[in-house]
């Protein structure tokens, strides 16, 4: 076979998996045939590649033969596969550079094994080389919001790179004194963010500053608008605030000493969804005791301490003599000119009359709402809001500090009321994230989708449907189409979901490693069921499902996609055309797509294809759509069985073209 690409150096490992494989396959024979036909650097048979020494040997061989692609045939164990990936990654490969071939399920013995190995080798060659792009970036970071949380983030980031802080209302920003004069930090007071252009590493932010439009370049943006406490008196029986009745935030801003005084905190009536009022109350109670308060009571319904440091603070408070008093149901409040009283019921001694506590100060927890600037800022930065109007979707796949756009991060209570230790952790993560831009240069593997300008009609569909705002339309005389323009995906901003590729009406977009050609090649002769499975959920579930019920695999072909947003209408139709009887889409649970809305796009396409089938008299039930999580192997198998049963009832797909 002719040498394909001399920069692609493949190492092939034929693993016997402790004698399991050689029962049906003659590995020596496979090796000989491959050696005579294929194009690779190194090949070896091993009895068990997963042994510790073997892994060290593998690492050594990667260096010795300068391997940059691996094909490991034999092993099916996910856990062990991950270990090989780790070795490869340590040697500078990406997860796309390692291919596994399951030899235990190969039919036709040695010949079958040669055939699958050859097809994978062909795929590796087809993928070609990964180009590493070096991109010049702006080290400077913008921190939006000069509260304490913003100040914390700015001080930490400024150790590595310059920071600009922006604050619309400098009068109330309590973080400004903390950063005044700090090296590497400058403050834009009285300015607001009006818009943003560009991508991670090279944003241009538009500010309105003293009525003027000002533009400035930043590598990254950190949003640190703080949540705001609001007192809702209806939660406290209409109690008005006053001399002896304070909100928690009023109390925390106190200047006077409470030495010798009696203070009672009330928790649980407001701030139902967070731990923030609990965290703040515990800290305040300890502080009061240390400063000589006469009596400190915390009235609670459920003491929520399920976060770092809270449990410890609870213990400390107890040890210092803070009284923790549990209540049930309603509390009555009375306040006079000299004191404030609460009357409550104890949950365990119900026969008792209601209990009363009179103190000098009553301190009431508040609710937390997003800063009023949140919505406007979300629009300006083109990032998404989540529940209750805070930043960020409620999605288990999302890292807490990440927005739907690369290069824009959240710290602190802008994405929900959080406290102390959690904020420190977020700051540390953000410092690491923005630190990538500190040197002014970033290297990225250029794995973003490519656009064929001859096919691009600059229709904007990709631009509008990219969940990560990673696409721009560029004009360049060298672009070979009527407009000399085409869509371009930014390598730093793109998260490789492939949604754009599936949406493009000109079929101009191809995602490396998941091109239409590669995916359609996998279904060249499909079995009864083809399942397009998102690699964040359905695909992982399928791996687990395989172990649970290996026989179910016989009539099933799983096609792995990076996100269900990549499942093209054409893929569904082609599977049926080429002979499948049923096609499944296995997607992440609702609101839990790693790429924001890939699963919603996939659901729409399911609807579209069902209609296309119905209109020509084919059964729409042949298309199945299943929400699934990575650990739901059993549900996966149940869905496959249901599909098999449905197909059994419907009979073979009458539309198949290759009969």
């Amino acid at each position: 076979m002719a040498k394909n690409n001399k920069n692609i150096r493949i190492g092939i490992y034929l693993c016997d998996c402790d004698g399991k494989i050689s029962k049906n396959i003659d590995l020596e024979k496979v090796k000989t045939v491959i050696q005579s036909e294929a194009d690779f650097e190194y090949i070896r048979i091993t009895s068990a590649l997963c042994g510790k020494i073997e892994k060290e040997k593998l690492a050594g061989e990667i260096d010795k033969y300068s391997l940059n692609r691996l094909l490991i045939a034999g092993c099916t164990d996910q856990f062990i596969r991950r270990q090989f990936l780790q070795v490869a990654e340590e040697k500078g490969m990406t997860r796309y550079d390692v291919e596994f071939v399951d030899l235990s399920s190969v039919q036709d013995g040695s010949e079958g094994a040669v055939a699958v190995i050859n097809s994978v080798l062909a795929k590796i060659q087809l993928r070609g080389e990964i180009v590493i792009e070096e991109i010049e970036v702006t080290p400077q970071v913008l921190v939006i919001g000069c509260g304490k949380e913003g100040a914390k983030a700015a001080l930490a980031i400024a150790k590595n790179q310059p920071v600009v802080m922006v604050e619309g209302d400098p009068g109330v920003a309590d973080g400004i004194p903390l950063v005044k004069g700090a090296p590497n930090i400058s403050i834009k007071a009285g300015a607001r963010v009006a818009g943003i252009e560009g991508f991670a590493g090279n944003f241009t932010v538009r500010f309105i500053e003293n009525g003027q439009l000002v533009k400035q370049k930043f590598g990254a943006v950190v949003v640190a608008l703080e949540a705001q406490p609001v007192y809702d008196k209806s939660k406290y029986g209409g109690l008005e605030l006053g001399e002896h009745v304070l909100t928690l935030s009023q109390f925390l801003a106190r200047e006077k000493s409470f030495s010798g005084q009696k203070v009672t905190f009330v928790l649980g009536k407001a701030d139902a969804d967070s731990l923030l009022s609990y965290a703040k109350t515990l800290e305040a109670a300890i502080d009061l005791k240390e400063k000589g308060a006469a009596e400190v009571n915390i009235l609670y319904e459920d003491m929520k301490v399920s976060a770092d440091q809270l449990e410890q603070n609870y213990e400390i408070a107890r040890a210092k003599g803070v009284n923790f008093l549990k209540y049930v149901g309603e509390i009555e409040f009375y306040s006079t000119v000299i004191a404030a009283t609460v009357q409550y019921r104890e949950p365990f001694l119900t026969q008792l009359d209601p209990l009363r506590i009179t103190s000098d100060y009553l301190v009431l927890a508040e609710d937390y709402v997003p800063s009023p600037e949140t919505k406007e800022l979300a629009d300006a930065l083109e990032i998404r809001l989540g529940p209750a109007g805070f930043f960020q979707d409620d999605n288990v796949h999302f890292l807490p500090v990440k927005s739907n756009r690369e290069g824009i991060y959240f710290v602190g209570s802008c994405h929900g009321p959080i406290h102390g230790v959690e904020i420190d952790r977020e700051v540390a993560t953000v410092v690491a994230e923005v630190g990538r831009f500190a040197s002014g240069k970033v290297k990225v593997p250029a794995l973003q989708p490519r656009v064929d300008p001859e096919k691009c009609a600059v229709c904007l569909t990709c631009y509008r449907t990219c969940p990560h705002k990673a696409i721009e339309i560029v004009h360049d005389e060298s672009l070979n189409n009527l407009y000399h323009s085409a869509a371009r995906m930014n390598p730093l901003a793109c998260r490789r979901c492939g949604t754009c590729a599936a949406e493009c009406p000109g079929k101009a977009i191809q995602l490396p490693y998941y091109s239409d050609q590669e995916i359609l090649q996998e279904i060249s002769k499909p079995p009864k069921i083809v399942a397009y499975a998102c690699e964040n959920s359905g695909f992982l579930a399928s791996e687990y499902a395989k172990e649970l019920d290996p026989e179910l695999q016989e009539n099933l072909q799983i096609v792995r996609v990076p996100c269900s947003g990549k499942i093209d209408v054409i893929y569904l139709l082609k599977a049926l055309e080429r002979g499948a009887d049923g096609v499944m889409l296995l997607v992440c649970h609702k609101e839990n797509c790693k790429f924001v809305w890939g699963n919603e796009r996939a659901e729409k396409r399911k609807g579209q294809v069902r209609k296309l089938l119905k209109d020509i008299g084919l059964e729409e039930e042949r298309i199945d759509f299943v929400h699934i999580a990575a650990n739901q192997g059993n549900q996966f198998n149940a869905a496959v069985r249901a599909m098999a049963e449905r197909i059994h009832q419907l009979g073979t797909n009458a539309g198949k073209v290759i009969k």
């Binding site: 229709c459 569909t461 509008r464 209109d615 073209v657």
Partner: protein, 222 residues
């Protein structure tokens, strides 16, 4: 841009019923932008035709090809090879492209889309009519809002009696075009423009089908 939508598949299947080999011809112009007839839609329609005909026990061969624009002869020439090897063509270009391809094709060419209007793309999957190509634009007098395209009755001089609360009597989902014009002119401080009567249009069709010839540009020699 020209906005079109795919014709119902029954219609397409009916047109090509007698044939065993057809070309589905796409256009990378307006119909790609309006998601009705680009390379992707060509693939979808071709696939749907194959499935339908196989199901009916009457298999068909479907060839797929898309060119830059079906309203220019040079691009149409790219279809030459395929057109001469099939029995019929389904074009997914707008009515203009379909006709132009039909003029050049030795085999029958059928419409795969319904050409709807000249409109704007409001968002993914949403389009709205904006111009009727009347040949004598009056947008200067109407605050940049076309009375012909935006008024359900294409009235040129103010609304009919069916305009209520800003909506058209045709449907409460339709804005009254003349209300829009009024609001816009008011915002611009140009309400006095409404005093001018816009004369009836001849649609530039008094000499039959419209053509445009610019002598200063044509390649013909005097």
């Amino acid at each position: 841009m020209i906005v079109a939508e795919r014709k119902p598949i029954e219609k397409v299947l009916e047109m090509i019923a007698p044939y065993k080999k057809v070309l589905v011809a796409g256009c990378y112009g307006c119909v790609t932008v309006c998601l009705a007839g680009g390379e992707k839609e060509v693939g979808i329609l071709a696939s749907q035709i194959r499935l339908a005909r196989s199901k009916d026990g009457n298999p068909i061969e479907v060839v797929e090809q898309t060119v830059e624009r079906q309203c220019d002869a040079e691009y149409l020439a790219k279809f030459q090879d395929n057109v001469s090897s099939v029995e019929a063509v389904v074009s997914l270009a707008c009515g203009i492209g379909i006709q132009y391809l039909a003029e050049k094709s030795p085999v029958p060419v059928f419409p795969g889309v319904n050409t709807l209007f000249l409109g704007a793309n409001l968002d993914v999957g949403k389009w709205a009519e904006r111009c009727f190509a009347c040949g004598d634009c009056v947008l200067d007098k109407t605050g940049g809002i076309c009375p012909i395209a935006r008024c359900s009755k294409s009235l040129l001089n103010g609304p009919c009696g069916g305009s209520q609360y800003g909506k058209c009597e045709v449907s409460k989902d339709v804005d009254c075009g003349w209300q829009l014009i009024y609001d816009r002119l008011k915002a611009l401080g140009q309400l006095d423009k409404l005093k001018e009567i816009i004369p009836a249009k001849n649609w530039k069709r008094d000499k039959g089908p419209r053509t445009l010839v610019r002598e200063e540009l044509t390649l013909e020699r005097d």
